[in-house]
């Protein structure tokens, strides 16, 4: 009887663990194993262990492209998070302004991009906005008398295009988060600040920001991870199979994907995957500790 009781939770969890074992644990272990071999197009079945060669190649040889991909990823995450938090803060403040009667309407409309299926949004932007022949952006540009621009053919414009699209897709969530956090602030804090004659910036720096920081920190960190791991936007806009646009932005995720599915460098791709896994775990431990300290 007692043994049966002990086994019950495991029995309940067994199906889920089986699934997780197949889809998550096995791929990680297998990837770790392949990262130590020379598996590639020419050694699809007769690959053998080569030690840490792949890791050396990724980390020590500048021409492997991994180090610059890390740089691009960090820049991408920093730019997106910075702009996103900044814009979302002011938009949420605006939404909470006294006397704004249409607040609910604005909120619903601004939520729209969040509700759209992500791949549909990306493809719609690619086809309807950025396309150099038929896209709306170039229609506006030519209507204003400019010459057609090619948004996705070079790295810098393509990076900006990806950033704009990412902002469009990710801002709604951040706005709602900050909006929720703003409503939890005690109004009496502002009243006493008004009495002291504090202006907008002083209220922001000394009341609003410190109050909302602990509330939005978890979702901001979550968004930072999603941005860091962002694949769809860059892949669908610039490097779809058969329709490369010319830009060669490479974040670490697209780098790993390309080495596996385009250039068939499975060993290298696996090594990079394990490195990415390590980086993400390191970040999570780091941010978790930060969050805990802030709360205590």
């Amino acid at each position: 009887m007692k043994n049966r009781k002990k086994a019950t939770p495991w029995l309940y969890s067994l199906p889920a663990f089986l699934l997780i074992g197949i889809v998550i644990v096995f791929p990680i272990l297998y990837t770790a194993y392949i990262s130590l071999t020379n598996m590639n197009l020419y050694h699809w079945n007769d690959f053998h262990l080569i030690g840490l060669e792949n890791y050396k190649r990724a980390l020590l040889k500048a021409d492997s492209g991994f180090l610059s991909a890390i740089g691009t990823t960090l820049l991408w995450t920093a730019v997106n998070m910075g702009v996103q938090l900044f814009l979302a803060y002011f938009i949420a403040l605006g939404l909470n302004a006294e006397g704004l009667k249409l607040k609910r309407v604005y909120k619903t409309l601004l939520m729209f991009p969040w509700a759209m299926p992500a791949y549909v949004s990306i493809l719609l932007w690619k086809v309807c906005m950025f396309n150099s022949e038929f896209g709306l952006l170039n229609k506006v540009v030519t209507a204003l008398g400019g010459t057609k621009l090619n948004y996705l053919s070079e790295n810098v414009p393509a990076f900006l295009a990806c950033t704009v699209l990412n902002l469009w897709m990710a801002l709604p969530f951040m706005i709602m988060m900050i909006d929720g956090a703003l409503q939890s602030i005690d109004a009496s804090l502002y009243e006493s600040a008004m009495m002291e004659g504090a202006g907008f910036w002083q209220k922001s720096i000394f009341i609003t920001l410190p109050c909302i920081r602990p509330i939005i920190a978890p979702s901001a960190i979550m968004t930072a991870f999603t941005t860091f791991k962002q694949f769809d936007i860059i892949y669908l806009l610039t490097k779809q199979k058969g329709s490369l646009t010319g830009a060669s932005i490479q974040t670490i995720i697209t780098y790993a994907h390309e080495n596996a599915f385009v250039s068939n460098n499975y060993g290298l791709s696996s090594a990079v995957s394990i490195l990415i896994f390590g980086i993400i775990i390191l970040f999570s431990v780091f941010t978790n500790r930060g969050l805990k300290e802030e709360n205590s």
Binding site: V23, C128, F134
Partner: protein
């Protein structure tokens, strides 16, 4: 006093203008896509002015000339199947983690978060090889396993977080009445946890509905394609001809998701953050 009122009114007007502009900018891509979908292809892409004549021709063509209904059926089967599989497994597991205290409980919960850090895209290659060995490529069952497994950790954490908030006393009372563990789970805990189960289930549903990468990599046969896979293909094919079709398909695919989203909108924020993990 009056001066202040005028100033306040002026700032409200300018704030409203800013928000109207903001909403407009937000909706422009969607509105433009919609306009393209209801105008005939030749005038829409002719340049110069915008779309001119109103027509539902693109919608008729996407439904009758492309295998849209087949894709729709595949998507519905796949997403419902995945939802049942993932929710069935995750509910029992999260119940165990919420209600029983056993050795290694916290360690496993922590390990699950850690495992979740591995980006799903990077495991595609390993799963591809595994499925090739076991003949699971190009099958709905294979994709269901992948999708359910990918959403399992998220679902377990999310549901466990909610189960933890349901007081144990209710269950203890029914235990005295002689109910077994399983009947208790089905008859008492599940109805109480309905909001969490709905939100988690819908998240799984939306995830599968929107997934294109595994669908296009693992399904080699065109007539197994889901909406996401089909749409991706439509867009990747020869473009100027199929673009107006593509925008019509995009509108059709997005509508159910938009409806679901705005129905559960108020749970969205809390539903996503309660568990603290997201893909």
């Amino acid at each position: 006093m009056r001066k202040r009122k005028i100033r306040q009114a002026l700032s409200l007007i300018s704030l409203n203008t800013v928000f109207l502009a903001l909403c407009f900018i937000t909706l422009v891509p969607v509105l433009y896509a919609f306009l393209l979908s209801v105008s005939d292809g030749s005038s829409a892409f002719a340049g110069g002015g915008g779309p001119r004549s109103f027509t539902l021709e693109n919608y008729r063509r996407i439904i009758t000339e492309e295998p849209f209904l087949l894709w729709l059926k595949n998507s519905v089967v796949l997403s419902l199947g995945t939802m049942v599989l993932a929710m069935g497994f995750a509910t029992t597991a999260s119940y165990a983690f919420s209600r029983y205290r056993f050795k290694g409980r916290m360690k496993i919960l922590f390990l699950l978060v850690l495992l979740n850090a591995f980006p799903q895209i990077l495991s595609m290659f390993a799963i591809f090889r595994l499925f090739k060995t076991f003949g699971l490529l190009d099958s709905n069952a294979g994709l269901m396993i992948v999708y359910a497994g990918s959403m399992c950790i998220f679902s377990i954490w999310n549901l466990k977080g909610y189960f933890d908030t349901i007081p144990m006393e209710i269950e203890e009372a029914s235990k005295i009445d002689g109910a077994s563990d399983f009947t208790m789970l089905v008859k008492i805990v599940l109805p109480l946890a309905r909001p969490a189960i709905i939100v988690t289930g819908v998240m799984v549903l939306i995830f599968v509905w929107n997934e294109y990468l595994f669908a296009t990599t693992f399904l080699l046969n065109g007539d197994k394609y889901t909406l996401a896979g089909g749409l991706y293909q439509l867009q990747a094919n020869d473009y100027s001809r199929s673009w107006s079709l593509f925008t019509a398909a995009a509108v059709l695919v997005s509508i159910p998701i938009l409806i679901i989203f705005f129905c559960i909108q108020k749970y969205m924020v809390s539903g996503l953050t309660a568990g603290g993990v997201k893909g």
